[in-house]
Amino acid sequence: MERDNDGPIPVRLPIDRRRFLAATGTAIGAAGFAGCLSDDDGDGDGDDGNGDGGNGDDGNGADGNGDSDGTEYADITPEGTSWEDLPDLEGSLTIYSGRKESQIEPVLRDIEEYYDGLELDIRFDDNETHLSTILEEGQNSPADIFYTQDSGTLGALAREGRTSSLPDDVIETVPESWRDTDGTWTGVSGRVRCIAYNTDTWDPEDLPDDIFAYADDERFEDDMGWRVDSGSYLSWVRALMIEHGEEFTREYLTDMEDAGVTHYEGGSTTPNAIAAGEVGVGFVNHYYVGRVMDDQPDAPINVTYTDGDLGSLFNVSGTAVLDSSDEQELARNFIRHLLGSEGQQFFVETNREYAVIPGVEYDHEDVPQLEEINYPEFDLNQLADIEPAVDLLREVGIR
């Protein structure tokens, strides 16, 4: 069975439309309000942002953050807002992070060091363990912010009613399909699913640019692997079900099983197996591979992307403020910092991720720029209910 051998070519894409709109829509925001930073801000914000469950009429419009004493701060905007212009952070925040310490601690500590009066208590564990922990803790949870690796976990927390509203400027800055439609969680950086391959055994030109072609291509029999224990895999299977229907997804998964796909567990296990040559091809998030490439530059591994199908699903890592937190305003301002220029720049430069605002320069060559990847439009909000995917995977015997 011969496939057309042109492989995934970098294509310039329709995504630019939305980014363009996002970029122009609220462009007038920041500039004028680069207010001097008064030192009594932070938790002194009183009434202006604390309305749980309803945002929109809390005085945080597109015209800046009105402080109770009249000091004004800039909003978060798509073209980037410097930390200098954002409200001061003072107090102490507890962050439950499902993102790895090695990746995320530096930017969190940067923010902490930027202010004298800010103290961060960060607990690292898996996304799912944190979710279970928060649900067990109930209203007594010490966590103020939940920071996860994928949108599904945040969606699950929102479904339990445990997230509180984010300010308008945040909601207006982040494209709608990358945040909660109700505005209770937001993506702060992006990643794309990709095809990772062993460069000793495969030429990128020989790899199909259609994700479903791998299932019944004999060349890949017993030579594929994927990670099955992550929330991001569940989200992906759920996305397939929403986009193509349950029957199609069942067939696809069964075909993959028949083709002898190896089920790995643990984040870097699949890239490592590919680099070791145990399997030639794997379906993973791009930044895991970027990490292996960074750490072991000689490892024979690289990535390529499928063309416009869910094989290159764009997903976000994101944050939410817990409803039980008594530091609502401080927590929101902290998230503003992650979405500010310096925060977004960090994700791009250091982590090889993608920014969720357009106003960030990409100046490295390790992973392709987002414009070069034809990723499909997909509303991540549809992934909040993951259970059908769990049941389907159990049915076909993957779990």
Binding site: T94, K100, E101, S102, Q103, E105, P106, R109, D121, I122, F124, D125, D126, E128, T129, L131, S132, T133, L135, E136, E137, G138, N140, S141, P142, G152, T153, A156, E160, V228, D229, S230, L234, T262, H263, Y264, E265, G266, G267, S268, T269, P271, N272, A273, A276, G277, E278, Y288, R291, V292, D295, Q296, P297, D298, I386, E387, V390, R394, G397, R399
Partner: protein
């Protein structure tokens, strides 16, 4: 000097009036150990019945149950085959460098299974390191390491020390004058071993074997690495399904049922346990002379030590050598990690030893149903994956863990006490088993003599029994210490924020794919565990 095993007077174990205080104390300990499991019942009761029923009746449930049982039996049998001969080798023969080999053989217990499994997979995977070595000589394919058989071998390689340590302790305490007697009666060595030695050390072997069996079903890391489909893997996949803890709790309850069954079976098979003798002497120091066979014997020990200890360290270090990433400062090694590990583990070991004493003593000395029930109850936590115990304590700690003392409020959630409690719940059976075996080897007539001479019950225990069982108590505490040092899931859930131990650093590095940065904490974990073993074994050696 009577040289006979005492079998005729079980009455001496039940003869005393039932000690009410001891029973209450023992019951309280058992209740505290089982208490977190009430959360399981409570959580499992909120599952959707149809969905839960669907999970139970699907054909794969039978397969998973079968796999779990196979894993348990396989690991136990393999561990027995490794541990018992090695215990005899290091106690009853004149093998050179005895203490060194003893530590090497016991040390794999200190290695977390996720490190061991990772190393074995790196070495033996298809196109892995070993295959790379063998390719020049024409071997292009190794038998697959993945699957149940791979998991069985690897778990056995890291859990056989349970049997080794308990068996070794029993051999050391054993009255060898019996062996001398059997030898004078013209029994050969093998016959003597089967007829005299084995019956005496059987409870110790069973105690170690039980720990191995329960550990095998509760281990998650190794089956996950080796793609073996067992109960724990299902529990974790369920736990990772974003549906809260309901189904994970539901599956864990099934694991509790399996555990209860194993405990009942082991109770039956351990049989008559009166293993003490009337003599106080330990007989001659007649060790088996190995002659030239000492070389192959040492070779076997060295090979085992290389595979289980040296190879993982080398593999991690090789990652360190090629690593190019700039890592955050928090990945730099600090001695605080070592101190934190040692101090929580030491704390847990002392607590476990103290709490295990009444339970073990009651069960060994008073052949009552309640005593046995209490003793068995303390084992259940050992078979439950750490993450499940951890979440249970998250629930209790966050919602009921705050105490008002007038002006001061003390919260135990995310603190050292609740963390230590979790360790004790998980690991106390190691202390109970070891202490109980030690009590069984003390002739109750000694107590009776002391009582006749006017000692009270407590005085008798303190002055007569305790000094005799101390090595067993210490050995049990040592086991708790070693396993606590490597415990991960409950540590991550319950530690105070910012409290970093060696394993949390290994985890942080490994989960980031920075295996090289796991090398140094892993190496130090092995060294510290080894040192603690030296101290412990020195106390024990006669």
């Amino acid at each position: 000097m009577s040289e006979q095993t005492e079998t005729e007077s079980p009455g001496s174990r039940t003869g005393d009036a039932r000690p009410l205080g001891l029973t209450l104390l023992s019951g309280a300990v058992a209740a505290a150990m089982v208490f977190p499991l009430t959360w399981l019942v409570f959580r499992a009761s909120s599952v959707d019945f149809d969905r839960a029923y669907g999970i139970v009746v699907r054909p794969r449930t039978a397969e998973i149950l079968g796999n779990s049982l196979l894993l348990m039996v396989g690991v136990t049998v393999l561990s027995l085959c490794i541990a018992v001969p090695l215990a005899v080798l290091t106690v009853r023969t004149d093998i050179p460098y005895r203490r060194f080999w003893t530590i090497v053989i016991a040390l794999p217990l200190a290695i977390p299974s996720y490190i061991g499994a990772f190393a074995f997979v790196s070495a033996f995977r298809p196109k892995g390191i070993v295959q790379g070595w063998l390719e020049p000589v024409g071997v292009t394919e190794l038998p697959s390491i993945y699957g149940l058989h791979g998991a069985t071998v690897i778990i056995a390689l890291y859990t056989y020390p349970y049997i080794y340590i308990t068996t070794r302790a029993a051999l050391l305490r054993m009255d060898t004058s019996l062996v001398d007697a059997a030898r004078t009666l013209n029994h050969d060595r093998l016959g003597t071993f089967y007829r005299v030695t084995l019956p005496q050390i059987r409870p110790a072997i069973a105690a170690g074997g039980l720990l191995v069996a329960l550990y095998a079903v509760s281990d998650f890391g190794t089956p996950a690495f080796l793609q073996a489909d067992v109960y724990t893997r299902q529990i974790f996949l369920e736990h990772r399904s974003l549906g809260g803890a309901d189904y994970a709790a539901f599956l864990s309850l099934q694991l509790v049922v399996v555990t209860a069954f194993v405990l009942a079976v082991e109770s039956r098979v351990r049989g008559d346990e009166t293993i003490h003798t009337d003599s106080a002497g330990s007989g001659s120091d007649d060790r088996i002379r190995l002659g030239w066979t000492k070389y192959p014997a040492m070779g076997v020990c060295a090979l085992l030590g290389f595979a289980t200890l040296v190879m993982p360290v080398i593999i991690y270090l090789s990652w360190l050598a090629t690593s190019q990433t700039d890592v955050p400062e928090s990945f730099q090694f600090s001695w605080v990690f070592v101190w934190n590990s040692v101090y929580v583990a030491g704390f847990a070991a002392v607590c476990a030893a103290l709490l295990a004493l009444p339970v073990a003593y009651l069960a060994a000395r008073h052949d009552s149903l309640t005593g046995h029930l209490f003793e068995r109850a303390t084992y259940i936590g050992f078979a439950i994956p750490g993450i499940v115990i951890g979440l249970a304590l998250v629930y209790f700690g966050a919602n009921y863990g705050s105490f008002d003392f007038g002006p001061v409020t003390v919260g135990v959630y995310q603190s050292i006490p609740i963390l230590v409690f979790a360790y004790v719940v998980r690991f106390i059976p190691q202390s109970v088993g070891s202490t109980r075996t030690a009590v069984l080897q003390v002739n109750p007539k000694l107590d009776e003599a002391a009582r006749t001479l006017g000692y009270g019950r407590l005085e008798t225990f303190r002055n007569v029994t305790f000094p005799l069982i101390a090595p067993g108590v210490v050995a049990g505490a040592a086991l708790v210490f070693l396993t606590t040092m490597k415990e991960l899931p409950a540590t991550l859930l319950l530690r105070p924020t910012g409290f970093e131990t060696l394993v949390t650093r290994i985890w942080a590095a490994e989960s980031a794919g920075l295996y090289g940065y796991a090398a140094i904490p892993a190496l130090i974990l092995i060294v510290v565990s080894g040192l603690s073993l030296v101290i412990i074994l020195r106390q024990e050696d006669i």
